[in-house]
């Protein structure tokens, strides 16, 4: 690289012609520091630091909103539905960071003026514009994060299941004791009312059962029921569901090879959304995604049909 030597010589001259760091640069730095301190105090005084309710791992209604400078990343997640989420979540930021690390070895010419490095200037401006646009989109649309949507009640129920040592007698996914029934095969098909009664007083619904009465709190029963119901065994849809889909949804949505491509392809929707989310979305899409042009089906379809459809869709996992 011929220009390296020239640059060092030219820089030496520029440095000699320049001013002493103290006091000239230090003065500017100090003024800047005071300006920032003043601005920071103003923000701290006017906005303070919020403190919300204590963390509640069982609160399924809480919709997390990230710090504003991460908003663009969350908004980007929405552009990559289903299995492609990892593209937005990991691959793009990973590529960005790799690019930053490699930058000095990609742009190696002597030119420093941004007008004379049009490629890198455009790349920078384009990235900034993209981040700006996504951030704006993120602030105007309420956040429903695709990854988080697994029900927190289920998490809490799972934790309780572990801490109560239920697996001493029960199997889930083939793991656990064999005194009681295999929960993912049997219990998840029961109704919520049945499960609730069962947790309160096992013998009242299963005469002769050796399951002990656990004296659980109402909240604990709620999360356990949610957990058991989430295991999926009895969560089947009826054979009506594909027909309902064909009649009402297929003009816009695709599953496998059937259907149109006006709206998103739903072949893998079950990997990203659970049944409850699908039900809410079918009932009224605008609540979860204001920019959606899909109509709401509450009233168009019966609640039973919507539930059935939601189960059908949440079972679409591409296998």
């Amino acid at each position: 690289m011929n220009w390296h030597q020239d640059y060092i010589e030219r820089y030496k001259k520029l440095k000699e012609q320049g001013k002493s760091f103290f006091p000239y640069a230090v003065l500017k730095d100090t003024i800047m520091a005071f300006f920032i301190l003043a601005l920071l105090c103003w923000f701290a005084y006017h906005f303070g630091a919020a403190l919300e309710e204590p963390a509640d791992p069982t609160d399924s209604n809480y919709n997390p909103r990230p710090e504003w400078y991460f908003l663009f990343l969350f908004q980007a997640l929405k552009l990559f539905p289903g299995n492609l989420e990892s593209v937005a979540a990991v691959l793009l930021p990973g590529l960005g960071v790799t690019f930053l690390f490699l930058l000095p070895f990609l742009d190696t010419g002597p030119e420093r003026n941004f007008l004379k490095r049009p490629f890198f200037t455009l790349l920078g401006v384009g990235t900034l514009a993209g981040i700006g646009y996504l951030t704006y989109q993120g602030t105007v649309s309420p956040l429903t994060n695709p990854i988080i949507e697994k029900d927190p009640l289920v998490f809490a129920g799972q934790r309780l299941y572990v801490s109560l040592n239920c697996s001493y007698c029960h199997k889930i996914g083939g793991k656990g004791g064999s005194v009681g029934p295999e929960l993912d095969k049997v219990a998840s098909g029961e109704t919520e009312e049945w499960l609730e009664k069962h947790f309160r007083e096992p013998q009242s619904v299963s005469p002769g059962s050796t399951m002990p009465k656990l004296n659980l709190l109402d909240d604990e029963i709620k999360v356990l029921v949610a957990f058991i119901k989430s295991l999926g065994g009895g969560e089947g849809f009826t054979e009506e569901a594909p027909k309902v889909f064909a009649e009402n949804c297929a003009m816009c949505h695709k599953i496998g090879k059937e259907g149109a491509e006006v709206g998103p392809d739903l072949s893998l929707i079950g990997t990203a959304r659970d049944k409850n989310y699908m039900r809410k979305y079918i009932e009224d899409p605008s609540k979860l995604n204001p920019s959606s042009s899909m109509p709401g089906y509450k009233g168009q379809l019966t609640d039973v049909q919507i539930e059935d459809l939601a189960r059908y869709l949440s079972a679409q996992k591409g296998d």
Binding site: W3, D6, L14, K19, S20, F21, P66
Partner: protein
């Protein structure tokens, strides 16, 4: 008194340090461009604010799920200036991200990462990632709804990494579930691991800035003249 000063000057090489750091000449940068050159030192300044306010907060904070939230309320309501210090630390974090990003953009668009300052840039990128690490780990500490669920999302995003995702999430959370271990882990990372790393990175970054000299503002003509001559 004078004797003490002379002793310190000779034993601590104060004059030499002063010459190397403060009497060094820097290329002229005038007008608005000159002010863009203050963003680096501004980042350092905000870092100091974070160190001071963070240390004060750590004195009253308890990193356990049972007490974290209450200790924040204690800081807000009982500690003298506690509310203020927390607000400063909270907004300081935002300022840090903004100032560091602006600094990075200045360097990017002025092409200051070019020879001979490639290493300075790379250490700068590491510093940027460390700042993001501070932001992510600090967010959980108040243990309120927002911090809990936002961190849950963050951990879930990390778990999306192909092949090793679930391990990363497990290491972050300290297990399958988010709980007491996650909180102490984030606290240790936020107050011990990252400060150690960032101090080393800052020192290297500053040393390189002084060693290579601060880059001169790009000139419209000189660059191409040089190219013709090269």
């Amino acid at each position: 008194m004078k004797l003490l000063w002379e002793w310190m000057k000779s034993r601590l090489a104060l004059a030499e340090i002063w010459n190397a750091l403060f009497s060094r000449h820097v290329p002229e940068a005038e007008g608005l461009v000159g002010w863009l050159y203050t963003l680096g030192s501004a980042s350092l300044f905000v870092f100091f604010i974070q160190v001071i306010t963070g240390s004060l907060l750590a004195m009253n904070y308890v990193p356990s799920p049972d007490h974290a939230y209450d200790s924040i309320r204690f800081i807000n309501e009982q500690v003298i200036f506690g509310k203020w210090i927390r607000a400063l630390h909270h907004w300081g974090a935002t300022f840090m991200v903004v100032v560091v990003s602006l600094h990075m953009l200045r360097v990017y668009f002025m092409g200051s990462y070019k020879y001979p300052r490639e290493a300075t840039w790379i250490v700068g990128v590491i510093l940027f990632l460390l700042v993001m690490g501070f932001s992510f780990t600090g967010y959980l500490l108040p243990w309120d709804q927002k911090s809990y669920w936002a961190t849950m999302v963050g951990a879930n995003i990390a778990s999306q990494t192909p092949a090793i995702g679930s391990y990363i999430a497990k290491i972050l959370k300290g297990g399958d579930e988010m709980g007491a271990v996650t909180l102490t882990r984030f606290y240790a990372i936020h107050t011990l691991v990252l400060p150690g790393l960032i101090l080393v990175a800052i020192l290297i970054h500053l040393f390189l800035v002084v060693w290579h000299g601060i880059s001169e503002p790009p000139q419209k003509n000189k660059g191409s003249d040089k190219k013709a001559g090269a």
